[in-house]
Symmetry: C2
Subunit: 224 residues, 2 copies
């Protein structure tokens, strides 16, 4: 049941797996990313992965199981920029600026499908696919919780007003990210997404750190 990892020390007894599991998983991920779960047929999958139906079931179990693995792979490989931005060692505002900027860049890469695999997936689906829908929704919730945590740390670090509604602010940036993913899917350019990100940062709560009293608007009136 436990699939042997290829090329990592321990070797099984029989004929080794002739395909790179990670590589075929990646191919499946791209297809799912581009077409969604429903839009990706079994035949398309094994064709893109370059393996036979039997090998497919042997290695991945089912289409749904593969999809779950593909999501994990997406989070690890393609979604790394998200967590990286939130763990950056900067002030909170800069972290979110980088997050939005990275999103604009990542959503419009020409070596990967546009947009995000998770952001808007399975929001409308047949009742039979409640499992997948919940899975995707919980991933979205998780990524928003990740942002909330970063904001909380910002308050602790003192670079965000203590009375900031961090859940709402995380929901705001979460919404933006999802909307940007749709824009990217619809063909928006990277420049356009960067503009959106720039505007989004205007909504950042005003802090003492970023705008010290002497640079606040009212004192500008008296500078030469």
């Amino acid at each position: 049941m436990t699939p042997k990892k290829i090329g990592s020390g321990r070797r099984g007894r029989g004929r080794p797996q002739s395909f790179d599991r990670e590589q075929t998983l990646c191919a499946a991920m791209r297809l799912f990313w581009d077409r969604g779960y429903d839009g990706t047929s079994f035949d398309d999958l094994i064709a893109a992965m370059g393996i036979s139906a039997s090998s497919f079931y042997n290695a991945f179990g089912s289409k749904e199981a593969l999809y779950q693995e593909a999501i994990d792979a997406y989070l690890k490989v393609a979604g790394a920029w998200f967590f990286a931005a939130l763990q950056e060692d900067t002030d909170t505002r800069t972290a979110f600026l980088h997050l939005m900027t990275a999103a604009a860049a990542e959503f419009t890469r020409d070596d990967l499908p546009s947009g995000c695999m998770i952001a808007v997936a399975a929001t409308q689906c047949a009742p039979a696919q409640t499992r997948l829908r919940d899975l995707l929704a919980s991933q979205r919730t998780r990524s928003e919780a990740e942002m909330t945590d970063r904001l909380r740390r910002g308050i602790a670090a003192g670079d965000l007003p203590a009375d900031t509604d961090i859940e709402a602010l995380a929901a705001f940036y979460g919404s933006l990210l999802r909307g940007m993913a749709v824009q990217a899917r619809d063909g928006a350019s990277r420049a356009r997404l960067l503009e959106i990100a720039r505007i989004a940062m205007q909504a950042w709560p005003v802090t003492q750190e970023l705008h010290p009293p002497e640079t606040l608007p009212h004192s500008y009136a008296q500078s030469p």
Copy 2:
């Protein structure tokens, strides 16, 4: 071929249509809205509409044709608040505030499916459904153009800085709306969406009315 309109003056020769076309179309719209095109099966459709398969094809032609009609119906009936907000006779900022507020309310009605039928539909789909995908994408483009127009009128009316990047601003609010639709689908409360809308309005470009020029240097509005 042209379907007779029920109860409107001219009457055909044979047996009249026994169902209200508008009503059955509305039922189909709700189903498509909730489950998407793929997620809605033919059998589910005729069950919800309360008509037979024959009547269905007689009246609507095909599933895809019905979907297009459903989108038109959605725009006229359920999406009316969008156009209404943009045609409101107020200043531009208030119009967009009302737009976002209305979205928060409309996306979380308990008498209709949550979210938006168009906002995030068919972003990931099988290659065979390029037609639908393009149809939805063009509707999204159109709604964004509608916002751009309103912003343009705002500049003409002088309540928006003349150098505002109105396309980018429209894309920003368009992204937000789509993201909010996803949030609503994932179960976000109306209060949460209203919070997002509130934060989004913080990004509104600085205007003379709100911040007289002598108290706000232009550099304040640009990102680092």
